[in-house]
Each structure stands twice: as C-alpha cells, then as structure tokens.
Amino acid sequence: MTDQFPVLQIDGLSAGYGPMRVIHDLDLVVSAGEKVGLVGLNGHGKSTLFLAIAGLTHWQRGSIKLNEKQIGRNRSQGPGRYTHQIVHHGLSLIPQGDEIFQGLTVKDHLDSGAYTKSAWRNRAGRRKEILQIFPALEQLMDTSVGRLSGGERRMVAIGRGLMAKASLYLVDEPTLGLAPKLGKGVLEALFDIELGESAMVIAEQNVALLDGRVDRIIGMHVGKLKGEAAASLAYQTKREI
C-alpha cells in the first residue's frame, strides 16, 4: 500500500471510565481515502474509541492526531468542552443511537450538520446530494424528527453527518436496531459515498455486512485491536482491486 496521508493517527491510547479501563494502549492509523471496518462485540470499546476521538469522554494516556494536528488532551477538562473545535478540524461523528433534535424538522436537521461556512452556503445543494443517497427523506422534509420511525431517523442522522465535507467520518453502528433490509440499505449508501481525501471508519457488529466492501477490517476485543497484528487471523481482508 502506498504511503498515504494519515488522516487519523492514534498512539497508545488508553481510555476508561473512572477506575475501569476500556481501551488499552491502542494504536491505529487511517489513511486518506480508506474505508475501515471496526468489528467487535458490544462493550468492548468501539463506541468509547469514537467518543474519545471526538473528545466526549476522558482519556488518560496516548495521543490522537487528526490531519496531523494533535487534538484533545489527557488533562481532565469537562468532557465535550472542546468537541466543537475538534469537529471544526474536520471530524464528523455519527453516534450510536441517533442523537437528534426532536423539535427540529428534517430540513433543519440536515442544515445543522453543515458546520463550515462553505457547507452552509451550499446547503441546498448538499441537501439534494443527501436526498439522492436517501431518497425516502424527500417526502419527510418538513416533519419533525421526533415523529419519524427508527430507520428514517437513522437516515437523517447519517445525512446530517454527511452534510459538511469532513476529513474523517466515524459511523457508530449504523445498523443498530434496524430491520435487516433497512440496515443493508443504509450500509450500501455509506459504501457508495465517494471519499476523495477523507476517510471513514464504520463500527459494526455484523462482519458479514462489511465483507468485501471496505478496505480493511479490524477486530476489537476487550479494548485492544486484534486484527492488525497477526496476519494469520482470518478476519483480515483486503479489497479486490
């Protein structure tokens, strides 16, 4: 693999809640244009990893670099204090179990995702692009999101995450709680996105859905990455060129 620009570089990250450590000495590099799948059971640290990158939980040791810029620090400030700055550096987090604004309409929701000035100015255009990816949202543009069903909400949340051109997309369990067909549809939409210089990390429990469609699959077990180290593990796959 050619030496690409590392969009995300994590060194020796240790994160945890209080006395309990969830992530132990994690090293991860994601290069530009890559789609990485992160698989593992619940409770093994995938969500914590994403939250730590976004600055929403404390982490104790290590360093996280987004676009070669060190983000976050391991002093214990209030969690979430610098998150909006990290987002402005080029991160788009689509969290587990959609965090939605109940009272806003779908249109407002999508608009709220456009956090850069250029994205805000072109928001109508971006919205059209999102509608091409998720055509079912066309009719629902003016309903308040609190009234939508689970699948529609997931589409809105993902659409919101895609509105601004971010360098790193972190998608946390896009198929959680969805019917299988819907889940597949959502994942297909994600896979079809043209990344360009950005990178995407999709955390998913169901390996079969990711098979063959991503560049790398990494397994996460009890807070440590397992798939990258030994070549002999069957989980590591490469995309056919």
Binding site: L56, E99, F101
Partner: protein, 293 residues
C-alpha cells in the same frame, strides 16, 4: 364599562412582559441558566438609553436602539461572568442562579451609587400624540410599545428560524450533547443567546420607562413578573409564553380596573399557582424534564 380600555391595557402589558418572558424562556431552555440578573440588565439598559438621551440626541429611534444595544452589552457581561465559568461545573443550575443573583445585587447597587437615588426620565420615544382605537384613546407610547415589541419579537423569531446562529440556538435548546457533535460551541452560542435576551430586556426597559420612571431598582419587579410569565407559559416554548403573557396581561388589566392595583399581584400569583398545579410544566412546556445542563 370600558372594555376596550381594559383590553388595550392588557395587550400593552402582555407585550412588554412577554418580551421579558421570552428572553427568560430562551435563556433557560438553551443554556440551562436562570437569569436572575435580568432586573440589572433592565436598569442598565435604561440608564444607557438615558445617557444617550442626555448627551447625544433625543431622537426616538436612537434612544430605542441604544437601549437595545446597552441591554445586549449587559447580557454579554453577565454571560462572561456567570455562564462561562460555571457551565460545565457540577450543580450548574443553582450556582448559575446564585451567580446571576450576585451580579444583580452588586450591579444594582453600583448603578445606585453611580447614578444616585433620584429617578430619571427618558424622553418619550414615540411622541406625544394619541389615536382613537375601538372608541378609546390610545396614546402613542402605548401604540408604539405594542408595535415595537411585536416587531422586534417577530424579527428575533425569524432570525432564529433562518440563520445559522439561530439554528444553533434552537439545536442547543433541544439537545446540547448532539449540538456539540455537530460543531456547535456552547460558549459562543451562550454569548449570542445572552446578547439577544439582553437586547430584549433593553427594549422592554425603554418601553416601560415611557410610563414609569427609571431607577436602579426598577428592574426587579418587571423581572419577577417576566419570570412568572415564563414559568407559567412553560420554559422552552415560545407559544406557551405568548399565551401566558396574554392571559396574565388580561388578568392584570382586569384586576387593576375592578379591584385596585394592590391586588394585582395576588390575583396574578393565584392564577399562576392554579395553572401550575394543573400543569406543572407550564402551559406548553415541551421539555419533559427540567433541562440538565
């Protein structure tokens, strides 16, 4: 039976208190801060407008604008002193309330010390004439009060609906955690919110000072009335506040007409307690939990 007079009075009062109440409601629901220093911002803006009237010009628009701007400035100061240091510390709600109370305490005293205890007068913004509406006379200042407050409120609400900052404020009202994920910074939005609500308080101050004199402690009663209207209407929804303002305005006008001014507050609070007993969240409170910052 002077119904039209009563109704007109009610509308005027509802407009003015509604302005304050919407400010309180927006601050509470988007920042989680109960702004007890509204009274201070109120008198601060009033004095600002008075200074402008003394030294710069007597033009109505200038006075109104200066009142709004000084109010916004006051709001920003309060935000910097009380909201920014405390918003991510534990027990933020109480501490914020006590901090704003402290600001109100020393702010009003500082105003008293600087401007002296004598009441001041702001020249009328809308002129001295009057028009006949529905068979009763309405002085220009009442007309002006109603029109300006409705205009400003509509402007604010429109801005909140269409601009990015307004969207940020509305998003923070719903879900602050998700707002930070989408790149909405709590502190910057806090400054915007406090500036806007301070401006609203400044507007209410200039409008009210057409009828009453301006003094350092003059902001306390309107603030408490505004707080109760916001409480009654439900913190977090503009519709509820408007409805509550109308109801309480009608109540105040009718009570002062039939029973005399001293019983106004009693009936107000009786009504508020009644409404709150029936609906503890207020008339249209959309937040089903008191927002935890």
């Amino acid at each position: 039976m002077d119904w039209s007079y009563v109704i007109i009075n009610a509308i005027v009062l509802a407009c003015i208190y509604g302005t304050l109440a919407i400010g309180v409601s927006i601050t509470w629901s988007s920042l989680g801060l109960i702004n007890m220093s509204f009274g201070f911002i109120f008198s601060f803006a009033g004095y600002g407008a008075w200074l402008v009237a003394q030294h710069i010009s007597h033009n109505g628009v200038v006075i109104l604008a200066s009142g709004i701007l000084t109010g916004a400035l006051g709001g920003v100061i309060v935000c910097a002193l009380a909201f920014i240091p405390l918003h991510d510390k534990p027990n933020f709600t109480i501490r914020g309330m006590i901090a704003t109370l402290a600001i109100s305490l020393f702010g009003t005293q500082a105003l008293l010390w600087y401007f002296g205890p004598r009441v001041k007068n702001i020249p009328p913004v809308f002129g001295y004439g009057s028009i006949k509406v529905f068979g009763s006379t309405m002085t220009y200042d009442k007309v002006g009060a109603v029109l300006t407050s409705i205009l400003m409120l509509t402007a604010v609400l429109l801005w909140m609906k269409s601009s990015r900052r307004g969207l940020e404020i509305r998003a923070m009202m719903q879900n602050p955690h998700a707002a930070s994920i989408v790149g909405i910074g709590v502190r910057r939005t806090g400054f915007y919110v406090m500036a806007i609500t301070g401006g609203l308080a400044g507007l209410a101050s200039v409008l009210l000072s057409q009828t009453y004199y301006l003094q350092a402690f003059g902001g306390i009663t309107p603030m408490i009335k505004g707080l109760s209207v916001a409480l009654c209407g439900g913190l977090g929804s503009v519709t509820g506040v408007v409805i509550a303002a109308v109801i309480l305005g009608i109540n105040e006008a009718m009570t002062s007409r039939f029973w005399g001014g001293q019983y106004v507050l009693i009936t107000q609070f009786g009504l508020i307690i009644l409404i709150l007993l029936i609906r503890p969240r207020g008339i249209a409170g959309i937040l089903d939990k008191a927002r935890e910052a």
